[in-house]
Each structure stands twice: as C-alpha cells, then as structure tokens.
C-alpha cells in the first residue's frame, strides 16, 4: 500500500511553470502568503468581533450532500433496478465463495468435497514456499499453516482465506483490464486518475456502506468490498508496468510482425511481468487488510473473531489471533514477492520429464500420503476445539502482570497526554473560527506551492465546511496532527540512530516493511492492552501506525545521500552532529517529507478505523452511518476524509518537489 500512496500523489500536477517574471513574482508570492497569514491571525485574534457566520459555517453554506447522495442511490437502487443487477453479481461471487468455502473449511455447499485436511494444505504451502523461495520460505509458509491448525484457528483462517482466494484473482483481473484500457486510451486514464486518487484516500468504512446497500452483509459483501478496495493498486501497477516495457522490445515485436493484440498479450504484458506480479502482491495484501476489517459488515473469519475478542477485552485470544493474522500477512507477502522476483531458469537440454517436474511429483506424493494418513488420524484432518493448544491464559497472565506493573506509568502517560496535550490542543483547534483556519490553510498552500496550491487547498477545505461536519473534521485533523507529531518525535531520532550503520539500517527497514504488511486492525491489539479503550489508545495506535513510514523514509533519505557528499563534508572537518544538521538532514528532507505524507495518510486511515474503540471524530460518525446504512452520510464523511488526505498529500508532495526543483536549478 505504501508505495502506491506515494504514486497517488502523481496527481498533484506540476506547479505553475511560467516563472518568467523571476524575482518580481517570487516576492509577490512571498508577500502573498504572509498577507494571508496575518489575515488568519487577525481573524483568530478578533474572534469576539466576528459575526457567528464567520466562526462556524453558517447554515446557508451547508448543503445537504447526504440527502442528494441518498436520492441518487435510491434512484439507482429502486428506479433503475440496479439492485437486482448487483445482487446477481453478488450471487455469482457467492457461488465462488461457496466452492472455496466448501474446499477450505467444509461449508455445506457444492461440490461437497471438503474440507481438505489441514495437513495436506500445510504440505502444499510448504512446497509452494520451497519452489518460490527455498527452505526459509518453505518453513515460513508451512509453519504458518501448522500454527493455525494446532492453535485451533483453522476454520476462521480458512473462512478468511476462502474470500481472498476468490477476491484476489478477480481484483487482479479487473485491475489489469482497467489498467490496459487506461494505457490504451489516454482520455480514460485522465478520467480514471482523479477517481483513483479519491478512492485511495477514502477510509475503508466509506466503501462498506454502499456495498451493504447494494450487496447486503456477510461473506459476499466482504468479498465485494475487498475487491473494490484492492483494485486501484493493480490498475496503477498495470499502467506502470506497461509504460516500463522497453521501447526496443516493443519495436522488436513490431518488426517480427506482431499484430496489436499479439503485441499486448505476447510482448507487452509478459515483459511487464514483474510489475504485474508486484500488483498481485499489493492486491493480496490489500485483500487481507480489508477482509479483516470487513468483519464490520459480517465477514466471518479471523477478523470477526479478533473484533469479538477485542470487544470482549479478552487480550489473550485476541493476541493469538493477531499472531495468526500477522503470520498470514508475512507469508502471503513473502510468497507473492518471491513469485514476482523469481526469474525463469532453464533446464539442461535432454533433462528427463521427471526431473523437469520434480517438485510437482514431490508435491503430489506428499499430498496424497498426507491425505491418506489424515483419513486414519483425525487430528491431521481437523484439530477440534478440545485438542487445540492455547497460550491465551499464559498471555493473559503475563499481560496482567505487566499491566499492573506498568499501570502507574501508562496511567501517568494517559493523564499527561489527555490533560496537557490532547484537551488543550483540541480546544484550541475547536476555538478557532473556521474562516481563520481556511485562510491559514490557504497561506500554507501559498507558501509551499504558490497561488495554485492555495486554491487547491481551499478547494479541498471549503467542501468540508459545506458538509456541516466541520467540528468533527477538525477533531480528526487534531488527532492526526498530534499523532503524526508525536510519532515524529519518536521516530526521527530512532531513524537517525538506525541509519548510523548499514546493517542496522537494513534490519530496521526490514522490520518496517514487515510492519507495513500487517493489516491496520492488528495495531489496535497492543494499544487496547496498554491503555484500554480510550482516546489515548486511539492516539497510540495511530502513532505507531504512522510512525512506521516515517522511520522507513527517514532511513532511506539519510542513507540515500551520495557518499561523496559526506566524504567531502568529513574532509572539511565536520563533526557528526554538524554533518547531520547541515548535510544529511537537509539532503534527506525531501524524502522525509514523503515519509510525512504517507504518515499522514496512514494516520487518517487509522483514526477512522480506531473509531470503534471510541473517538469523537469523523470516524465515529462514519461508524454510525455504517450502522444505520446511511450511504449519503457515509460517503459525505468519506469524501471529507479523502479531501483532508488529498490536501495533506498535495501540500507535502508539492513542498518536497519544490525543494528538489530548487536544488536542480541551482546545480
């Protein structure tokens, strides 16, 4: 997901290019944002003098977006009869889900063959892992399945996987077809791009409401929402892959007399294999993240179980499920990445058929043996609830022990944060007149990206004021700002330390990569453990989730500096601190900004998800809308969140690029 968000910013178009006026315009811009800033300060300072309509959006300004959207949806549902179409599609998907459900966990549907014994699947996964990435991957993927079975979570895990098995291929297919279409017809791409940007900035819940309206609840709705959510990265990577095909390969294809269709199917797409498979990887990870969250709309499986356990505050079982989800995430990620990077290797000519298909034969042999043995030893077929191992009591005990020890500390942190950080900051942001915030945002845009950016920022912010959810949006903003700020306080020093030596940096990047494969939901487990269900827990979850990309990009930025520059610094006699302050940080700054951008995006997503442990912001309203199946409200809120995200994205990327451009211009 991470890299794609960075790509998403491609939408923020190049800055106003005509710079012919040179200094004259530069000073005009400079003073422009200063004037705006002063105006914003005046508005804030003179709040008591302002009419009410300038403190909070006045009623005439608030448009009934929700009602309009609902009207459109009602029209689509009832008058156009779209409902019957979507339900037909859903029935088709449900049929697929029935088949995978039957095979994987013995759902009582056609073809009535399943469930496949867990030992057979574990062996198959181990051999798949071996084929793609050698022994390590074999142990990881086989081990994950053994863990799931032995811990008695087989059925839930298979419920989750049965949806991924259906949703991921469909997403890949839809994404590829759309990607190819966009590649072929540029007008389609132009129309698609803004949609993708918004789609990738919408919180997960916003997708769920229309799906509940059109499809209903349960596994099929989970599958549909998963497909919708995971298609965008596939589209982007298909486009990227097709663009990256070397021109000479295409020309060679043409000179060899390939028709348009043959060029696409036999030259372009196969050559773009790596990007397409990276897309598959992204799709699978998105699917996993969404399938877990889709428990909110009745998707059974690990997510539902985790949700129940978290709601029951049963940390032990929740922790176990967390481990399972994490293991699945890492396994799926490593498997699909190994597939993407795997290059074909030849067999010596004259190799025997048996040798060429050695792994297939090994698989067939082991799998059938496992199948037969499983018929005799039921434990290898299915681990019943009573046979399952559980570490939950141990975890619960140690967690309780730890919590009683840590309680004074966590309680102190909690009190400190609430009284000295959260409440004052929230009150301040809510105290500000909305006009002052709008003007300040415009000033910020102007300062970072010129007049055009100022207008873009306003174009994102004013509609939020018009939704009537201004206060809620500001609470979201404040949570995100606080979380990203606190995350930066922790993660910047951490990454400076991490970037200190190459091995440490590599390890930390690996940890970050792994953390980023975890479905966002997972991050809620430890914070609920530590802080219970409270504002601080939300903040902590958002902080951790948002800190990961920050660490990652800061390390990458610090380590991406050309050694010559640093060596030159050393020869000039800089101390470590001087080198950091005057060379490394400034040079890494544009990359760190990209980290901040992702961090803000992630924070926004997390704030919304965290609504279910109790927040007062847009996320809470979104959950309410989900409960009431209020599409209009849900989408309005979704757009508000997306606009906040897009604005942050625009500002930070604009800033990063400006620094780059200025440096290019200088050198």
């Amino acid at each position: 997901m991470s890299d794609l968000k960075a790509d998403a910013s491609g939408f923020s178009q190049p800055a106003p290019t005509p710079r012919t006026g040179g200094i004259a315009i530069a000073t005009a811009e400079l003073s422009g944002w200063k004037v705006l800033l002063v105006l914003a300060l005046c508005l804030a300072a003179g709040k008591i003098l302002l009419p009410v309509g300038m403190i909070r959006p006045p009623d005439w300004m608030i448009l009934p977006f929700a009602a309009w959207i609902n009207a459109v949806f009602d029209f689509l549902r009832y008058d156009l009869g779209l409902l019957s179409i979507t339900r037909t599609i859903a029935d088709g998907i449900e049929w697929c889900l029935d088949v995978t459900g039957n095979l994987l966990y013995g759902r009582n549907r056609w073809p009535h063959l399943g469930p496949i014994p867990w030992s057979v699947l574990a062996i198959s996964f181990a051999i798949l892992g071996y084929a793609l990435g050698g022994w390590k991957l074999a142990v990881l993927s086989g081990g994950t399945l053994v863990w799931i079975a032995v811990m008695g979570q087989w059925r839930w895990a298979m419920e989750t996987l049965s949806v991924i098995v259906v949703a991921a291929p469909l997403s890949v297919l839809i994404g590829m077809v759309t990607g190819v279409t966009a590649w072929r017809w540029s007008w389609f791409e132009r129309a698609l791009n803004p949609l993708l940007n918004i789609a990738q900035s919408m919180p997960h819940f916003a997708y769920m409401i229309p799906v509940v309206v059109f499809i209903g609840v349960g596994p099929k709705a989970g599958a549909v929402v998963t497909i919708i959510f995971s298609v965008p990265p596939m589209i982007r990577l298909t486009l990227l892959g097709l663009r990256k095909v070397p021109e000479e390969v295409v020309e060679a294809g043409k000179m060899n007399g390939a028709s348009q269709w043959a060029l696409l199917t036999r030259v372009r797409l196969p050559t773009a294999r790596s990007e397409l498979l990276l897309g598959v990887n992204q799709v699978i990870m998105q699917c996993l993240a969404m399938v877990v969250l889709a428990s909110f709309i009745g998707m059974p499986g690990l997510g539902q179980r985790l949700l129940q356990m978290l709601q029951a505050l049963r940390i032990g079982p929740a922790f176990e499920i967390g481990i399972t989800i994490v293991l699945i995430a890492i396994t799926l990620d490593r498997l699909s990445k190994a597939w993407a990077t795997k290059k074909p290797v030849h067999h010596e000519s004259g190799t025997h058929w048996m040798a060429r298909h050695r792994l297939w034969l090994v698989w067939a042999g082991f799998a059938s043996v496992a199948w037969l043995v499983a018929q005799v030893i039921p434990y290898l077929h299915e681990v019943t609830r009573s046979q399952a191992l559980s570490m939950a009591p141990v975890i619960d005990m140690s967690v309780n022990w730890f919590l009683t020890l840590a309680a004074p500390v966590t309680e102190a942190i909690r009190r400190f944060l609430i009284i000295w950080v959260l409440i004052p900051f929230r009150d301040a942001i809510l105290w500000l007149p909305f006009t002052a915030i709008l003007v300040a945002v415009a000033a910020l845009g102007w300062a970072l990206g010129g007049r055009r950016s100022a207008l873009i920022c306003l174009a994102f912010m004013i509609p939020i004021a018009m939704t009537g959810w201004w206060d809620r949006a500001m609470i979201t903003v404040y949570t995100v700002l606080t979380a990203v700020g606190l995350a930066a306080l922790v993660s910047l020093p951490l990454s400076v330390w991490g970037a200190g030596n190459a091995t440490r940096a590599r390890r930390m990047l690996l940890v970050c990569d792994t953390l980023q494969t975890f479905p966002s939901f997972i991050y809620l487990i430890p914070v609920v453990m530590l802080f219970g269900v409270s504002d601080v827990a939300v903040l902590a979850a958002v902080m951790v989730f948002a800190g990961v990309p920050l660490v990652r990009y800061t390390i990458e930025g610090l380590n991406g500096i050309e050694p010559e520059v640093l060596e030159a610094g050393q020869m000039n006699g800089t101390t470590w601190w001087q080198a950091l302050r005057h060379i490394r940080l400034p040079l890494a700054f544009p990359t760190i900004l990209i980290g901040f951008n992702q961090s803000a995006m992630f924070a926004l997503f997390m704030v919304i998800i965290a609504a279910f442990i109790g927040t007062q912001d847009l996320g809470q309203e979104m959950q309410r809308a989900l409960s009431a199946t209020d599409v209009g409200k849900g989408l309005t809120l979704g757009f508000a969140v997306a606009f906040l995200g897009l604005m942050a994205d625009h500002l930070l990327m604009r800033w990063s690029r400006n620094i780059h451009e200025r440096r290019e211009a200088r050198s």
Binding site: P246, E248, E251, A252, G257, A258, P270, T271, H346, S349
Partner: protein, 338 residues
C-alpha cells in the same frame, strides 16, 4: 539495373507540437527557430541498392536511429516518401505493413529487445510464430538459425542467463529467422565490450557472406563503419552530410564535419589501391600489378621494397585499370598526405 531496394526521397521527421507545419516552414526557411520542435531527420534522400550494405554513421542525437525507424516505419515520417522495392510504405495499411515485416524485414536492436519470459529458442521462433507457422516447423527453423550463430547449445536458456554478446547473437538469429530481404541493424554492437564487439563484427561479416541481402547498419563508431561498409552515410543534426564509399569519405570529405571525423583515422587501413589509382592515359607501367581492393596498409611492405615510381593496379578480373603513384601511397601510409 533494377530499382533500388530502399529509396528515400526528401524524408523529414519532426517531433513536437505541430510537426507537419514545422517541417513545411523549415523547407522554405531552413534557419527558422525550433519553436519547441526537434528535427530528427532533415530532408534525407537516399538509395540503397539490392545487396548493398549501407552504414549510417553519426554521433548520438544525429537522427540515425530515427532514420532507420522511418525506413522500417516503426515511426511514421512527417514528410517525404520511403519506398521498399518500389512500394511506398507510408501508404500501407496496418495489415499490409505487418505482412511486409513478416516477409521481408529483419531488425537487430542495440539493447537486443529480447523477450525476457521466453527461452532463446522461443525468442528466435517468435517471428515465425507471428507468421502462423506450425510449432514443429518454427522450432526446426529456429534451431537452424541458432546453429548458424553458434548458440545451438543454449536454446533452453533465458536471455538474462546469457552474456551480452550471446544475447545479441540471439537478436541476430531472430532477425534472420524469416530470411529477410532487408536487414536493419541499429547499433547492434555498441552495448558490447570492445573485444566482443570485434568478434561480433567478424561474425557479422561471415553471416553477410552467406547471402546477398540489403543491409542498413547504424553505428556511431567510425572504425566499425569503415570496416563493414560498402557505402557510408554520415549524419549530423538529422541531415546527411555525405554518402559515399569509405575511400572517398576519407580522401574527399564533403564538409568540414566529415573531414574532422576522418582526421584521427589511419587512412592506410581504409584506402584501397583502387582509390588512389590514376588512369594510365597511355603511359606504360611494368611488372606485377597489385589488386585494386587491397588496402594501402596491406601493401606497405611491398611499397617500401618497391623500386618503380608507378605500380600497375588490376581489378578483380586481372585487367590493368591504372597505376598507383608510389610516393603518394607512401605519403598516405606515413600519414603525410595532403
């Protein structure tokens, strides 16, 4: 003689917002401003005879690669006409163009343009597959061509498992699989190490001997051009500065630009006896003749030992066609000519 294999009349290729109009402007006023346009090919007129090997030579950015892509219609020309065997390829439909490429053209690329997901054999068989040949027929033919380039042992390998030289051999084999009449080579050896390059040039000359196809060869390496060419076209800024035999390029450069190119060259390696030969005009020369297609460098030992002032020169049939001035030849050999 029959019509030329490739004929190119006043061809223009302009990139930019409004290429056609810009080409028209430039025709009337050659010094007009660029206005955001890049002129890759400027008013090029060329004829390549059947069986001839033309080397197009120029620095990077001189438009040589674009020119060859115009000749194969990988890019459409902005203005002018290109005829292959008398047929205007600009007017061909997509289907006819594909047919033309399937039947007559082969092309080799600088960075090989191999399909990474196919084995060597499948790469070479690809053009035949596009033609719709049966699997067994195309595999047999692909094996045949691979043997020709000395890669029979490697047919099951994937491109990335081969060295650069081997990959280019695959590229060459693929372009020859359909036995093209016209063979385009776009800087085929520039991506290779100097040693391998030399080896590939020899290989290329060997393959060239096997048939008499028309060849257009692009290079930025003047030595390579001199070594391989029947004729050389030197390009600069999209226009052809001079198109002539290597001897004449060296001895009579048409422009300063061409002259500067030839400065650092060891002329004796390039110039043949025939190029220095003057007609007899009745004067009598005696003794054993030298062959007209031998370079002066190859004659050096003989020239030093020679006592005659004028040495007879014989063509490939053994007829005396003129005489070689020993002093002039020695000057050239010692780098003191002109």
């Amino acid at each position: 003689m029959s019509e030329p294999a490739i004929e190119c009349c006043n061809v223009w290729k302009v990139f930019g917002p409004n290429p056609v109009a810009h080409a028209r402007t430039l025709k009337q006023e050659p010094s007009a401003g660029s206005d955001g346009h890049v002129v890759a090919v400027r008013d090029v007129t060329l004829r390549v005879k059947r069986g001839e090997m033309l080397v197009v030579m120029g620095l990077s950015g001189s438009g040589k690669s674009t020119l060859v892509r115009c000749l194969s219609r990988l890019v459409d020309v902005t203005d002018g006409v290109i005829k292959i065997d008398g047929q205007d390829i600009g007017s061909l439909s997509e289907r006819d163009l594909i047919a033309l490429r399937r039947e007559k053209m082969g092309m080799v690329f600088q960075s090989f343009g191999l399909l990474p997901h196919r084995t060597v054999l499948e790469n070479v068989a690809f053009p035949l597959e596009m033609r719709g040949q049966s699997r067994s027929a195309r595999i047999a033919r692909a094996r045949e061509v691979l043997a020709l380039v000395g890669l029979a042992e490697r047919e099951d390998y994937y491109p990335r498992e081969l060295s650069g030289g081997q990959q280019q051999r695959v590229g060459i084999a693929r372009s020859l699989a359909i036995e093209p009449d016209i063979w385009f080579l776009d800087e085929p050896f520039s991506a290779l190490d100097p040693l391998i390059r030399r080896e590939m040039q020899d290989e290329f000359l060997r393959l060239k001997q096997l048939s008499d196809r028309t060849i257009v060869f692009i290079t930025h390496d003047f030595d390579e051009a001199l070594r391989l060419a029947d004729r050389i076209a030197i390009m600069k800024n999209g226009a052809i500065e001079q198109c002539d035999t290597p001897d004449r390029i060296v001895l009579q450069p048409a422009t300063d630009y061409v002259a500067r190119f030839t400065q650092g060259i060891d002329r004796a390696r390039v110039v043949h006896a025939g190029a220095l030969c003057t007609p007899l005009n009745g004067s009598i020369v005696e003794g054993a003749p030298v062959a007209s297609d031998v370079t002066i460098r190859a004659l050096s030992r003989r020239l030093v030992a020679e006592t005659r002032a004028l040495i007879p020169v014989a063509d490939s049939q053994g007829h005396i066609i003129g005489s070689l001035n020993r002093t002039q030849a020695l000057d050239l050999l010692l780098g003191e000519a002109q």
